[in-house]
Amino acid sequence: MIRNHLPALIVIVPLLVALVMPVLGRGDKPWLLATLASWASFAMTIVLQVQVSGLLRNPAATPAIISYPIGNWQVPWGIEFRVDALNAFILLVVAMISAVVTFYARLSVAHAIPPERVRFFYSAWLLFISGLLGVTMSGDVFNVYVLIEISALASYTLVAMGRYQNRKALQGSINYLVLGTIGAGFFLIGVGYLYSVTGTLNMADLSTRLEPLHDNRAVITAFAFLLVGLSVKMALFPLHGWLPDAHGYAPPIVSALLSGVAIKVGAYIMFRLAFTVLGVEFTFAKLPTGPVIWLFATLAILVGSYTAIQQTSLKRLLAYSSVAQIGYIALGFSLANENGLTGALVHIFNHALMKSGLFLVAGIIAYRLGESEIGALAGLGRKMPFTMAALTAGGLGLIGVPLTSGFVSKWYLVSGAIDRGLFPLAFVVLVGSMLAVIYVWKVVEIVYFRPASDSAAKVTEAPWSLVFPAWILVGASLYFGIDASLSSGLAQEAARFLLSQS
């Protein structure tokens, strides 16, 4: 009985718990409840993934599609949550990262936020998570807009809470708010154009009704608006201007979720609209989406990595690296073949593990040192061995060294580019990795080969409740680099599903 309501429960549990938060007192209660809620969502997501994925039940089975009409209002009139091979996979990433990061949050949040604000922090935190989970499952384009805005509004406040550490967070937050709202506004205009020609908002219904309308100018205009709006949300170059300040000055755990998950959800909506709603035929054969995204993805990888090299703050370095990683995801999207899409989707998974893990490490450093300047890390390799080992392992993943998960996604991306005969793009992926070597080495060199300063001499290893969750994520990213059958299997299943849609 409860199994039938899983799609709704996954969103509603954190949403309702968020509303309870403000009446809880100080202390650890808000954290405990938030952790329980996020783990409950994660557990339900796993059950849902097993129900949907053919891979986990029987390799020969085709992936199932679960349709959940909210309030039992029949589709296409009511709002539908629709879970298929693609979004079950993204859902798993979102729920997994939020669960681990929430578990980590207790000390980090107590350090970064004044005690009387902590419960409000967790309230916004859970709204953010439930918004992201909802966007992933929703099968109704207007509902997607509303849920994007729920998660975005919560994330603006969360970023602004970085002000207790550094007032620049406020500037980052307001820029993020203005650009994020314009992006969502463009998305809404695109939805309006689609509605004006089809009279429906349901994604499955839209895709059947749009089929004869591919020459319609309103549909092309709609696609342009949707693409630009979502590019802002996923911070695709050159629309990434808001990202470095927002991700660089937010409290560390907020950065972990923003960089690891929030921008990926924007990318997911792009996959969803381009492949299942509008169709490969329209997006890639009729319109020159491929070459346009190749250009911007290439620039994102090169400019993002190059700017990351020049940063002096660890969190800003990681933020610029995210700009580059989004470039890889967009590149895989634009290749529109099985290997390319698998690469993009598995990179969503792998990068979420690595980058969230690295931001958790940045949080540990901020907890111990009170800052995240790279210069302050000198000599900490001996003082905080486990933390710094996590930093190094995550960094190797960003480079894409073999036996890390970054290698797996880049392998698929390069094969995808070669399948299409696009050797320059394969070369761009390699150059991006070279640039990543430089910015990761810059940090590793300071950590291990510089003498510790006087203030750093007294630093000791951080408490296990911080180090352990960071290692869960980094360790998982190493594990999925050695045995990628689960992560790339699910991604491949999702990629095949996407290509079979048109």
Partner: protein, 116 residues
């Protein structure tokens, strides 16, 4: 003439451009937020214009009318207004914090304060 018949769509575009221009051109953060509000209002006008059916009346009539406007975009706009108001509230709360932290809401002065 179709140009004048579709005047509400032209106003939508005009309002959108005014909003975006204000966001880009004004160094005052409060004015930027006002620009953002104008931009969102333009989108509401776009949705409302979509719902208009020629010669149609209000959708709620007793007894039911033969030709009536499409009520769905109205419901959508209502939701979008709620989103817009919440955005405004969050934006103004952040601006209050900026004023507290920097003593100004002019973007160039905030940048200057950070440069020192």
């Amino acid at each position: 003439m179709p140009f004048f018949e579709l005047y509400n769509y032209w106003i939508f575009i005009l309002l959108m451009m005014i909003g975006l221009y204000t966001i880009i051109a004004s160094p005052n953060l409060v004015k930027k937020i006002i620009g953002l509000s104008v931009f969102q209002t333009a989108i509401f006008l776009f949705f409302i214009s979509l719902s208009k059916v020629a010669e149609g009346t209000v959708p709620v009539t007793v007894p039911p009318a033969e030709v009536y406007s499409n009520p769905l975009p109205h419901a959508l706009v209502l939701t979008a207004i709620v989103v817009s108001v919440s955005t405004m509230a969050v934006a103004l709360a952040i601006l209050m914090n900026i004023k507290q932290a920097y003593g100004t809401v002019e973007e160039d002065e905030v940048d200057q304060a950070e440069a020192h």
